[in-house]
Structures are given as structure tokens and as C-alpha cells.
């Protein structure tokens, strides 16, 4: 038998049909659904009289639109169009009989945090969602990627996707991370090295000591942003940490089924002599805490650096860099640590889990945020929020001057009321710094939770290592 990558193995285990021309039907084990990209898909089912083929494998949760303020049970906190979308999901979940975590449920949260937390995401599965950050679930050695609404409808109706196999890309992070450097810095540094199209057409598998040393939560942060590197999905082979995370979760297998599952999971790794179409190697020792300066996630630099000049680039990136600098209100040569910040946002499916909150709280403990700073923490789920309260983290944030919010996507994409005003500058732990992403005219610098906490205290982008 020819050697296979992990991606090859998961692909082969889910092939429901292969046409002569190589077009494949890939069986989908878990379909996650949220309110923004699903209404048209359910409408399509109604119009054609189709049912959801596997409602027991379909899990829905509203997250993008939901307010994160404590008064959100009051319908007036949502705009009418947001409310219509959330109500549409309520109704679709009920009508089609799929699993559902409504806004009022303590388990509600960002779909990519809820899936793993509830044990829906398991190694070797295929997981899709009408959301590009579905890549997150790859941390479990699950083949997970975002799809469009037409594909959501296709999966609802057939539990399969029409796919062609992607190529295999190996990203290895050798050695161990230095203090103050986190999973977020790994994933941003990889994108900085490969560019936002570097992974297009590939599924990335992450390797190396630094990846093995990450917790499951850190691995989710790494895989979450595989899409920002253009890759369809990111994967990390399961190991003891993966099994320990999954064990005992509400929807994880139990007893004999657990043993059978685990036996299969242990076969899920890339064979030593598997073929890679592309290989990228980065030394963990070379990764510093990073921030983005521009409006593409590839615009990454170590915090010790300075804003580049458009002339540092070639081709179409010259114009794009100039446009970024104009939009961001920055000039070439400016030190990154001199950039003043108005707002700090800690949350999102990239870094809205308990360890992210612990990392930020460790920096904030006993300190106050800068006068006039607007800072908010939006836990990734109601359960993360509850745990943070139990651990005393919430109080640290509140004492420091942060707003302590309810769970949702919030200011990562600003579909709810949490938005930047034009010209406002935000240090954000989320995943995208695109123009207008956090609000029209808003300026976003992506960084890790600890770096965000440091910026909240000093009022400017800050090397967190100086505060440790």
C-alpha cells in the first residue's frame, strides 16, 4: 500500500462515491450551522420539498448576530434584521429537527468553540460549516473546512459534498516556543511566511515539537487561521492530548465505543514516507510575539519591528501596501510599539477559549487599563464564561477595566452592536484585519491575548515580554 498523509486517510475513509472524471462525494460526519449563512439553504430545502438527511449529525447555534451585553434577552438589543435571522434559525432548527443551542442556553457560543466543547468534533471526522473558520476543528485531526450556503444546502439534503481532492502541504514548527510566544504567534507567523494565498488548493498538516507541545486549545488557534493562509483546512494528528480533551464530553463515545474509536484514531497520522506537494519549515525559536500592521493577515511583523514601506514589496503588493498604510493611518518606518490603541477586543473563535482568557488575565492581574481605553472580553461560549468566573478571571478583567460580555462572535466581524467607529484603532485577538471588518473605517491589529492585554494597559502596541 502506498504511504498516505493524514488528509489522504480521512479522505479515503469518507469517499461515498467517485465518478470516472474524479469528482467525489465526500461523506460529512458533522455539519455545524449558524444563523447568517443558513437561512437561504433551509429556504431552498422548503422550496424543493427536501428534508435534512441526517438531522442527528447537524448542530446549530446562533453566534454572529447575537448581542453580547447582559441585557440581550431583551429583543430590543438586536436590530430587526439580526433578530429575523436568529428567529429563522430557531424555526429552522425546530422544523428540521436538528440539534440546537439557542441564545438562552448556557452552552451557546461561537459555533467553532461549541462543537469541540460538546464533543461533536472528534478525530478522523469530516466537519463542515458555512463559515471559513471551520478549519479550527482540524486541531483534532478532523478534516474540517468552510463551505458556501449552496453547499450548506447540499450537505443538509445529501450529507455529502461534491469535492475534488486538494494537495498536501506540510508545515513544520521545529523546536520549542520562547516565553511570551503563543499559538497565535505561530499561526500568524506561518501566514506571514507563506502569504494569504500560500495554502490555496492545499490542506495543511502542522508538525513539529512546538505543535506537539501546544494544548488542544492552542492547536485550535493554529488551525483556525489555516484559512487565512488560503488553505482549505489545517490538520494536526491526534495524540494523547486529543484523546484526553475528547474523553467524557457530552457527545463523545463512551465505554466500548470509546475504545473502538480510540483504536481507529491511533491510525490517523501521516505515514513517514508520505508525499508532500509543499513543505514549509519554521524554527519556533525564530518566532517572536507578532502583530499585523496592514489590512491582510499576511501583513505580520515581530512587535520589535517597524511599519514597512510599500517599496519593500513587489508586484501588486506595492499598491496594496500603500492602500493598507493609508487605511491604517500609518507611515513607513514608524515603530510598531509607538502605535496608539483606542480599543482592545479579546475573543473570537481564534482565541476565545479558557486558556486565552487565562493568558490575558495573567498580564492584567492587579493592573488597570489605560485611561479612556475601551476594552472588552467576549468569551467563546457560555461555558467558557462560567469557567472564567469560577476561576476568578472575570473579576481580574472587570477590576482592570474590561467589559465582561456574554458569548458570541462580537467584534471579530461586528455584525452585532460591537463595532469600531471610523478611524478607531483596535488591538484584536481575532483573525481578520480586513478593511471595515470590525466596523467601517475601523483599524485592526491582530495579536495574541497576552499581547492584547499588554496593549490595554499601556495604550499602545507593546511587547508582552517586557511585562512578564
Amino acid at each position: 500500500m502506498s504511504p498516505k498523509t493524514l488528509y489522504d486517510k480521512i479522505w479515503d475513509a469518507h469517499l461515498a462515491h467517485e465518478a470516472e472524471d474524479g469528482t467525489c462525494l465526500l461523506y460529512i460526519d458533522r455539519h455545524l450551522v449558524h444563523e447568517v449563512t443558513s437561512p437561504q439553504a433551509f429556504e431552498g430545502l422548503r422550496m424543493t420539498g427536501r428534508k435534512v438527511r441526517a438531522p442527528e449529525k447537524t448542530i446549530a447555534v446562533p453566534d454572529h448576530n447575537v448581542p453580547t451585553t447582559l441585557d440581550r434577552a431583551n429583543a430590543a438589543t438586536m436590530t430587526e434584521d439580526s433578530r429575523i435571522q436568529v428567529e429563522a434559525l430557531d424555526k429552522n432548527a425546530k422544523d428540521f429537527g436538528i440539534h440546537y443551542y439557542p441564545v438562552s442556553d448556557v452552552r451557546q457560543g461561537i459555533v467553532h468553540i461549541v462543537g469541540p466543547e460538546q464533543g461533536w468534533t472528534l478525530p478522523g471526522m469530516t466537519v463542515v460549516c458555512g463559515d471559513s473558520h471551520t478549519a479550527t476543528h482540524g486541531a483534532f485531526g478532523a478534516l474540517a473546512h468552510g463551505i458556501g450556503t449552496s453547499e450548506v444546502e447540499h450537505v443538509l439534503a445529501t450529507q455529502t459534498l461534491i469535492q475534488r481532492k486538494g494537495k498536501n502541504m506540510k508545515v513544520e514548527i521545529t523546536g520549542s516556543l520562547r516565553p511570551g510566544v503563543t499559538a497565535k504567534d505561530i499561526t500568524l507567523s506561518v501566514i506571514g511566511a507563506t502569504g494569504t494565498a500560500g495554502g490555496t488548493g492545499y490542506v495543511i498538516e502542522y508538525f513539529g515539537q512546538a505543535i506537539r507541545e501546544l494544548s488542544m486549545e492552542g492547536r485550535m488557534t493554529v488551525c483556525n487561521m489555516a484559512i487565512e493562509g488560503g488553505a482549505r483546512a489545517g490538520l494536526i494528528a491526534p495524540d494523547e492530548k486529543t484523546y484526553a480533551y475528547c474523553m467524557g464530553r457530552p457527545h463523545a463515545p463512551k465505554g466500548a465505543q470509546w475504545e473502538a474509536a480510540r483504536a481507529w484514531w491511533e491510525t490517523l497520522y501521516s505515514d513517514a514516507d508520505a508525499h508532500w506537494d509543499k513543505v514549509v519549515t519554521i524554527r519556533a525559536e525564530d518566532i517572536a510575539p507578532v502583530v499585523t500592521w496592514g489590512t491582510s493577515p499576511e501583513d505580520v511583523l515581530p512587535i520589535t519591528g517597524s511599519v514597512p514601506s510599500p517599496q519593500d514589496f513587489t508586484g501588486g503588493k506595492v499598491e496594496a501596501a500603500q492602500r493598507s498604510l493609508d487605511y491604517m493611518g500609518l507611515s513607513a518606518g514608524q515603530k510598531l510599539t509607538d502605535i496608539q490603541i483606542d480599543t482592545v477586543f479579546i475573543g473570537s473563535c481564534t482565541t476565545g477559549r479558557i486558556e486565552d482568557l487565562r493568558a490575558a488575565a495573567a498580564i492584567l492581574k492587579g493592573k488597570k487599563i489605560k485611561d479612556g481605553m475601551r476594552a472588552m472580553v467576549v468569551p467563546g461560549s457560555g461555558l467558557v464564561r462560567a469557567q472564567a468566573e469560577e476561576e476568578g478571571l472575570a473579576q481580574i478583567f472587570i477590576d482592570a477595566g474590561f467589559e465582561w460580555r456574554l458569548a458570541g462572535c462580537s467584534m471579530c466581524l461586528a455584525m452585532n452592536p460591537d463595532q469600531l467607529s471610523p478611524g478607531e484603532r483596535c488591538a484584536a485577538t481575532s483573525n481578520r484585519n480586513f478593511e471595515g471588518r470590525q466596523g467601517r473605517g475601523g483599524r485592526t491589529h491582530l495579536l495574541s491575548p497576552a499581547m492584547a492585554a499588554a496593549a490595554a494597559i499601556t495604550g499602545h502596541l507593546t511587547d508582552v515580554r517586557e511585562m512578564m
Partner: protein, 201 residues
């Protein structure tokens, strides 16, 4: 879905690289439960001032390009969010094809589900077509899906690759859910095997 066979139309040049789906359709317009009506908000924040007036410097606001059916774009068009609202907005505006050196995967797939043809060509070809697009409304290019060619206004022909199945669906305006449902027996037998081999799924 509308068929795509052959179009001859105006192409708008958008040489900026990494045009993301947040630019194509900002999130405030994702709060719809319909597929239609998004064309007026296509490229909203690049196209309009904050008071709602048009920005004269934006290509689709210029008289020559208001009726564009094609966009010639910089590298990595459609990156970012999976929102299918991006192709819905393009289609609603009247765009039927986008030409670039590369597209983000999810956007690329979404186009085919909506009767839009994304065309990947080498850098040199895209540069020629970008220059052709800059000539304005009198320079119409022709895209023929059957023969898989783009012909510039001065008759230069560029051949492109497209997946056979996607081409078939686009040429005939086919609903691929219907096609997949014809393979229900394969899905049934896969599910039987799955529940025996991996019952925890």
C-alpha cells in the same frame, strides 16, 4: 441557476491583490434571508462615501464600467469569509465572470453554484487582459465556456482550464443537489458501512 455559455461584455479592471469577501460585500449586508438584492451594495465601502454618495474614483462608478459583466482582478480574489453573499452580490450587479491569477477556494466554488465563471490565467495573460479592460466600454472581451477561451477586444485568445463537472453544471444551469440525489444508493451503502465500522459518528 442561470446557464453560462458565452458572454461578450465590458470588463472592469481591479488590479488590487487580495480583494477579500468583506470588501465584496461588507457584513452589514449579510443580515438578509434572501439571495437577491445585494448588487446595490457590491463593494459597498469602496464604492460609496459614508454619506451614501458614490465615489467617483471607484471603477464600477465610472460611466465606462457601470454595465460591466466581467472583472479582471489582482491575485487571490475572494479570500477570507466563506459568505456566498459575495457571488450573490456580484451576480445581482450583473457580473458573470471574474478573471485572476488565483482565487480563494471557497469563493471559487461558490461562484460555480451561482452561474458565475471564475477564470484562472497565468500572470502574463491577466496583465494583457487587465490592460484590455482599462480601455473601457469600447473594448469588449468574449468568454466562451464551451471552448474554454477568453478573447480580448483585439482578438488575442487565452485558453483556460476548468473542472469538467463544474463546466457541465454551468453550461446547463444544473442543480447539483439533484445530481447528487441520483447517487442516493451510494450514500445509503456508505452510511451502512459507517454505522458498522464507526458507530460513534
Amino acid at each position: 441557476m442561470d446557464k453560462f455559455t458565452k458572454i461578450t461584455g465590458i470588463a472592469a479592471p481591479m488590479p488590487l491583490v487580495n480583494i477579500d469577501t468583506d470588501m465584496i460585500i461588507p457584513k452589514q449586508f449579510l443580515k438578509t434571508i434572501k439571495r437577491s438584492g445585494l448588487g446595490v451594495n457590491l463593494f459597498d465601502e469602496m464604492r460609496y462615501n459614508s454619506d451614501g454618495s458614490e465615489r467617483a474614483d471607484f471603477v464600477l462608478n465610472q460611466p465606462a464600467y457601470r454595465e460591466s459583466q466581467i472583472i479582471v482582478a489582482g491575485d487571490n480574489f475572494g479570500c477570507g469569509s466563506s459568505r456566498e453573499h459575495a457571488p450573490w452580490a456580484l451576480l445581482d450587479f450583473g457580473i458573470r465572470a471574474v478573471i485572476s491569477t488565483s482565487f480563494a477556494d471557497i469563493f471559487y466554488n461558490n461562484c460555480f453554484k451561482n452561474g458565475i465563471l471564475p477564470i484562472v490565467l497565468p500572470k502574463e495573460a491577466v496583465e494583457v487582459l487587465m490592460d484590455d479592460a482599462r480601455k473601457g466600454a469600447n473594448a469588449r472581451m468574449t468568454i466562451d465556456l464551451e471552448s474554454q477561451t477568453v478573447t480580448s477586444s483585439d482578438g488575442q485568445v487565452f485558453a483556460f482550464e476548468v473542472d469538467g463537472f463544474k463546466k457541465h453544471c454551468l453550461l446547463n444551469g444544473l442543480d447539483d443537489i439533484g445530481l447528487t440525489m441520483e447517487k442516493a444508493a451510494s450514500i445509503d451503502s456508505f452510511e451502512k458501512r459507517l454505522s458498522a465500522e464507526r458507530p460513534w459518528v
